[in-house]
């Protein structure tokens, strides 16, 4: 038996650190105004787009942007995508990806700072906080205050506003999937599909949870983009930088007056920390929590103006520019850093894909034909001695109007065909069919030809829209005979 181990008292270790609430101070400046602009535009697009109308004639919906899942169509202004053309959507996603590379390599995490939905909605909710509870100090006081009736009503009011914004966000989302005016009416009448209510409920919850409560934690702990974007940045990407060589050591204005030359430009007023929406201190250097929204630049510039020192103690600088400036060398202009081979290459790829897709969309066929041969039995002997094959012919009319089309045989010189319930006597070389607007027409076609001939004779089904021979589509097929040439 061992002697009892010596008593070890490990220090109480906290495995969990409570979030420190971010109460960012109001600030005005050029970047703040730019953020307002971006927020207005992006939220405007999000909430407004489903309400834009777009006339497509009587056979298609008149909503400009519509993801019609029930009918498997995706409408985007003048473009209509069928499920088999989904690669256009994939192309858009690739463009979005490369666009992100482009933006990141040129101006750093601008996506994070200005246009990411998480940033935009967090910004919106922070404005709500400010509107209801006042600015930074008032909010901090209220946070620390005990729960009184007044605090409760304020909180209840704020959370109600949160809920309204969340509901509005979820409500706008479902408008993309059905005719917006009809859906709004049905929604309030209780007649919309259960999926609509569920989607609104989920998005209300996620909007309030992510934008109202989790905020910068999403960026710091949950989101993969900061990591990926950090990997994509190089020494020539713009990023928000505190120029420590100019600012350090920090000292108040009074100290600096007493002791000229001993202190840098930073007066340690912590305005940059107070205005930060993710609650970081930019003076600690580039970090994952920095979404480069540049509000600290606005704050610092304002202070520098007040104390009569030059602006730009915190500024958009590239890593390379910072090195040069630290060494007292001349820094390249911002334009030079943005237009460099890497960004130009990204832009060319991005634009190339875009142009290729535009070209493809502009020249794509709006009519296709497909023929699937019946394999069981593959051929049938008819009483007059001829051989019959049968095909499932699928004609896809992707235009928003019904079209008269002629289905004809090309090749198989002695062959005849008839559809569905006809018979060999009614066999023809071609017949016309009406294909409904924006639909797939499925026709069972019997093809008969003399017994004598090649065992596998190639021919084609050709579909020609009436009055538009240019748009004809064709499909290769094979006529099979039991014995072949005898």
């Amino acid at each position: 038996m061992n002697a009892p181990s010596p008593v070890l008292q490990p220090p109480p270790e906290k495995l969990y650190e409570a979030r420190k609430a971010v109460h960012n101070k109001r600030i005005d400046g050029s970047f703040r105004r730019f953020k307002w602009l971006v927020m207005t535009v992006t939220l405007g697009i999000y909430y407004g787009t489903p309400w834009i109308r777009w006339d497509r004639g009587p056979y298609a919906p008149d909503q400009a942007v519509l993801v019609d899942i029930a009918n498997r169509r995706f409408y985007m202004f003048g473009i209509e995508i069928w499920p088999h053309e989904f690669y256009y959507v994939a192309g858009l996603l690739i463009m979005a990806g490369i666009g992100l590379f482009l933006v990141t390599s040129a101006v750093g995490r601008a996506w994070c700072g200005y246009t990411c939905p998480q940033t935009v909605w967090t910004d919106l909710f922070q404005h709500v906080d400010r509107f209801v509870d006042g600015d930074r100090n008032a909010r901090m006081r209220l946070d620390a205050a005990p729960w009184t009736w007044g605090k409760f009503t304020r909180r209840a009011f704020k959370w109600t506003v949160y809920l309204i914004i969340g509901f509005w966000t979820g409500g706008a989302w479902i408008m993309y999937f059905a005719d917006a005016p009809t859906l709004v009416r049905d929604f309030w009448a209780g007649e919309a599909a259960p999926a609509a209510y569920i989607a609104v409920a989920i998005l209300t919850f996620t909007t309030v949870a992510l934008g109202g409560f989790m905020r910068e934690q999403v960026c710091i702990y949950m989101c993969p983009w900061p990591r990926i974007q950090t990997a994509m940045m190089d020494e020539k990407s713009l990023t928000v930088t505190y120029k420590d060589w100019r600012g350090e050591p920090r000292g108040s204005v009074k100290k600096a007056e007493k002791n000229p030359g001993a202190f840098g430009d930073c007066i340690d007023c912590t305005q940059c920390v107070q205005v930060c929406p993710t609650g970081i201190d930019i003076r600690e250097g580039p970090q994952i929590g920095c979404i480069t929204c540049a509000l600290c630049i606005d704050a610092c510039d304002k202070v520098m103006d007040q104390i009569g020192r030059p602006r730009g103690l915190i500024d958009y600088v590239t890593l390379e520019g910072a090195e040069r400036e630290r060494a007292g060398q001349e820094t390249p202009s911002t334009l030079r850093t943005i237009f460099r081979p890497r960004t130009i290459a990204y832009f060319m790829i991005w634009g190339g894909i875009g142009l290729a897709m535009l070209f493809a969309v502009g020249t794509r066929d709006r009519l296709t034909v497909n023929a699937i041969q019946e394999r069981n039995p593959i051929y049938v002997q008819l009483s007059d001695g001829d051989v019959r094959n049968s095909f499932e012919v699928k004609i896809r009319n992707m235009e928003n109007r019904p079209r008269e089309m002629t289905l004809s045989l090309e090749g198989l010189e002695d062959g005849e065909m008839w559809a569905g319930s006809g018979s060999h006597e009614q066999g023809l070389r071609e017949f016309s069919v009406t294909v409904p607007a924006d639909q797939l027409l499925n026709t069972h076609v019997f093809v008969a030809a003399p017994y004598q001939g090649e065992q596998r004779e190639e021919f084609r089904f050709v579909v020609t829209p009436e009055g538009d021979a240019e748009a004809a589509a064709s499909e290769d097929a094979v006529f099979e005979r039991p014995g072949g040439t005898q």
């Binding site: 181990s5 010596p6 008593v7 039995p377 049938v380 008819l382 009483s383 018979s423």
Partner: protein, 309 residues
Amino acid sequence: MSDNGDKRVDQPTGTEFVGHEWDGIEELDTPLPRWWLIIFYGTVIWAVIWTIMYPAWPLINSATEGVMGWSSRGQFEQELAAVESERAPIREALARIPIERLPEDSALMDAAVRGGRSAFQVYCVQCHGSGAAGSPGYPNLNDDDWLWGGDLRAIEYTLTHGIRNPDHDETRQSLMPAFGRDGILDGEQIGDLTAYVRTISGQQEPNRAAMRGRTLFTANCAVCHGPNGGGLREFGAPNLTDRIWLYGGDSDTIRDVITNSRHGVMPRWGHVLDPVTIRMLAAYVHSLGGGEDFVEVAEDPGVEVDERP
């Protein structure tokens, strides 16, 4: 090992030892996490409730039934009933519509063809094959040659009453004599007839034997197969002039059929399947490519037809 009452406590953790030791490594009696215990007792309670609610305990001849009254067979029957009630309107419409007018209602016809296709895979493929292409002795239902008629009504009748069912009065019935075996014709005459049949079906040039056969044909065969050998559907007598042969068109087979005759049989389904399934089967067979239009012989124009689906 030692369990002699003196509890020893591991000082760093404050936990008792179990008393097991392996090379100086001892096992602690760490209490189970509370959440684990709660879940454990929860599952025990759940299991008890479960055995009360659902069939569980085996008895000698059966098992406890559970207070919910659930059984897998019962659930299956419920699901089956749900499907049946879903299909009820289609089945009702199919039962009501006169079968020759079925093609006018293309949606109903499509539904019937789909239903018929699955019924065919259960009841018919054994003889006619999965693609309904048949085999020697079993007709190919894809072609345009019909022994008893190829319109919807005729197919429905054949399906309902079958062919040559001895126990059924309404069955399709005809018996070709065994000309050779019964001594009606001698071997030479049968040879002549064979030559004639091969001539009218375009398989050989007319010759002297065929000329002799022609006279024999008129005397013995034309009453059922028609004066030109074109067949007669009232008797299920095949058309001998076309290219489709149920048993084969070569000389040996034709000679054998004339000598011994053939009486192909198809079961009747009227007492096995419900009328709607038979209609679906008829629609499916009709849709295979050889279906003929029904030619109305207007006998009773006063009949009201309910066209509502």
